[in-house]
């Protein structure tokens, strides 16, 4: 009887252990494939002199040159640039909205049924399939908002639309909407972790609620907010599907930022690294020599997102340490 249950334990141990091994192997295979295949794209032919220098040069060229031959060769510069630009704009949009909304929810709103429902709704926004955000962005931002902007400010150019067509600003807005829950959740969590003593201590000194928030509570919440923003950026950098509806294209003749006024062109179509990978991958049959290009671009994207996630983890770690210090005597 006892031996039987012991065997059962052992069986489960083996079973769970092998599943863990399987997961690890899959992740390792993915990283290994993308890593080796991607890097081999940059690795020079045998026999070339100074192979390491050439290797680094190749990486630089890949990052800094535009694609050629209908995306079948060349670099990824416009796609990388586009991704960074739209994510940067998204950050500028989502940070104030998300942080202020979170402050309202946890600091000003009465904690009643209505607030709870609102909070659940926002948290669930994170679970909505991203393509739905794309459709919403196309209808609401591009057609309704963009259309109205055209009627009000660019009527002389109609029927050719200026903002009533997919473009950078709509991409960034859609991304901001998509990542809003991430920022709100992170900020709310950070706010809830500030010990009550600091709040009452601050108010007892004659601070108004706003002064308490800006002088004591928010500075202590910054690491949490930063973590949220970085997670939002990491999520946004990897999104593709919804963006194809609101302004991401396979080839763009111009960059969204250039030297002609107004320098930042919010109405332009942009290229995106994720979509570029999709486009090049779709066009290359098995065994074609374009495949290494796909892996190389994928490697860059993975590196970008992993770096961002690691930064978020490090900041969160710092935050925990700081809190331990704050609460040492409590």
């Amino acid at each position: 009887m006892r031996l039987g249950s012991f065997r059962q334990d052992l069986l489960w141990l083996w079973f769970c252990g092998s599943m863990l091994l399987l997961s690890l192997m899959l992740v390792a295979a993915l990283l290994l494939l993308i890593g080796t295949q991607g890097l081999s794209h940059f690795w020079p032919e045998a026999g070339e002199p100074q192979r390491l220098v050439r290797f680094l040069q190749n990486i630089w060229l890949f990052l800094s040159e535009p694609p050629r031959e209908n995306n079948q060769a060349g670099g990824i510069f416009p796609a990388l640039f586009g991704t960074i630009t739209m994510v940067f704009l998204m950050t500028l949009l989502v940070t104030p909205i998300g942080v202020l909304a979170a402050i309202y929810l946890s600091e000003y709103a009465r904690q009643n049924l209505m607030t709870r429902v609102l909070r659940i709704a926002i948290y669930n926004l994170a679970g909505v399939p991203s393509i739905v955000f794309g459709v919403f962005g196309l209808v609401f931002f591009v057609y309704i908002l963009g259309g109205s902007v055209d009627k009000l400010f660019y009527s002389e150019q109609l029927p050719t639309p200026t903002y009533g067509t997919p473009g950078l600003i709509w991409v960034s807005l859609t991304l901001a909407l998509l990542t809003l829950p991430v920022v709100i959740v992170a900020t709310e969590e950070g706010l809830s972790r500030i010990p009550k003593d600091y709040r009452s201590g601050c108010l007892a000194l004659g601070a108004t609620q706003t002064e308490m928030l800006w002088r004591v509570v928010l500075p202590m919440t910054t690491p949490a907010i930063l973590t949220g923003i970085i997670l939002a950026i990491a999520r946004a950098a990897g999104e593709v599907a919804p963006l194809m509806l609101v302004g991401v294209v396979r080839t763009a003749s111009q960059l969204p930022i250039d030297t002609t006024f107004p320098y930042l062109h919010l109405d332009r179509n942009v290229m995106h690294l994720g979509y570029h990978i999709f486009d090049v991958g779709m066009q290359s049959p098995a065994g074609s020599d374009v495949m290494p290009l796909v892996f190389a671009a994928a490697l860059i994207l993975v590196t970008l997102v992993i770096t961002l996630n690691l930064t978020a983890i490090i900041i969160r770690q710092r935050l925990r340490q700081r809190f331990r210090q704050f609460t040492r005597h409590h």
Binding site: L203, F326, H329
Partner: protein, 252 residues
């Protein structure tokens, strides 16, 4: 009797359905130390927080009755709460310095008032830290993070922070309960020192402390005032059996 600094009339308070304070009538004389004593959960801390309206933070809290500070009802509508809390300073049970330097902690309240002049801030920081008997220990390390101080030092820092805005009343909610005997002694000496300039309200679990430092004692039992009087009289000649049991440690 001395003129009343604070007058509490017919004060009742409940959190949701739970009544915490009932029919409190009390008068706290100026420049005296009044101690609130009573078993845990009898409402002493809540009564204290009625005087700076910190209970208002709790959405469930509902207050009836009035509290007069220098004759003015602080429970009237649209009363300026930040101003009230500047006049009625409070020190909490656990030291709660803000996560910033010692100096920034002390001048926090002044900066809220918009004081920017360096020499004024310095002057007040030194004066408050001296009043709180902490100056000699920290004068060379004002830029150190306040969290690095010991518990007793932190509590005196918090007292200095409260004194910096020059309140009329200083309320201390079990200020020594988290401290060692030596720090406790320092805080008690400080209280005796401070009553020259401030009206002090003290919540304590420590009967000896109440007997040592307070002039008046209020004994609370289940949200009601059971007995109140000069500390000397109340401790030597309590009128109620319950008071006697409590102060002699036979409270059940």
């Amino acid at each position: 009797m001395q003129p009343a600094k604070i007058e509490i009339t017919d004060l009742s308070l409940r959190f949701g359905d739970r009544t915490v304070l009932e029919q409190i009538n009390l008068h706290l004389p100026a420049h005296q130390v009044t101690a609130f004593i009573g078993a845990s959960g009898c409402g002493k801390s809540t009564l204290l927080k009625c005087i700076n309206r910190l209970n208002d933070l709790n959405e469930l809290c509902h207050t009836l009755g009035s509290v007069y500070l220098d004759g003015e009802d602080i429970y009237q509508k649209y009363y300026d709460l930040p101003e009230l809390r500047r006049r009625v300073g409070m020190v909490f049970q656990t030291p709660n310095p803000f996560p910033m330097s010692i100096y920034d902690n002390v001048v926090f309240g002044l900066r809220l008032l918009g004081v920017r002049k360096r020499h004024k801030l310095h002057e007040v920081a030194e004066r408050s830290l001296r009043q709180a008997a902490l100056w000699d220990e920290v004068k060379d390390q004002l830029n150190r993070n306040a969290n690095e101080l010991s518990g007793g030092q932190q509590q005196r820092l918090v007292i200095a922070r409260a004194l910096a805005v020059e309140p009329d009343v200083l309320m201390l909610d079990e200020p020594a309960s988290a401290l060692d005997p030596i720090s406790t002694l320092k805080i008690e000496e400080l209280i005796t020192e401070l009553k020259q300039s401030y009206t002090i309200v003290l919540v304590t679990h420590n009967m000896h402390q109440a007997a040592r430092v307070s002039d008046f004692t209020v004994f609370l039992d289940q949200g009601r005032i059971l007995e109140t009087g000069r500390t000397r009289d109340l401790f030597t000649n309590p009128h109620h059996k319950a008071t006697e049991d409590y102060i002699t440690g036979r409270y059940a």
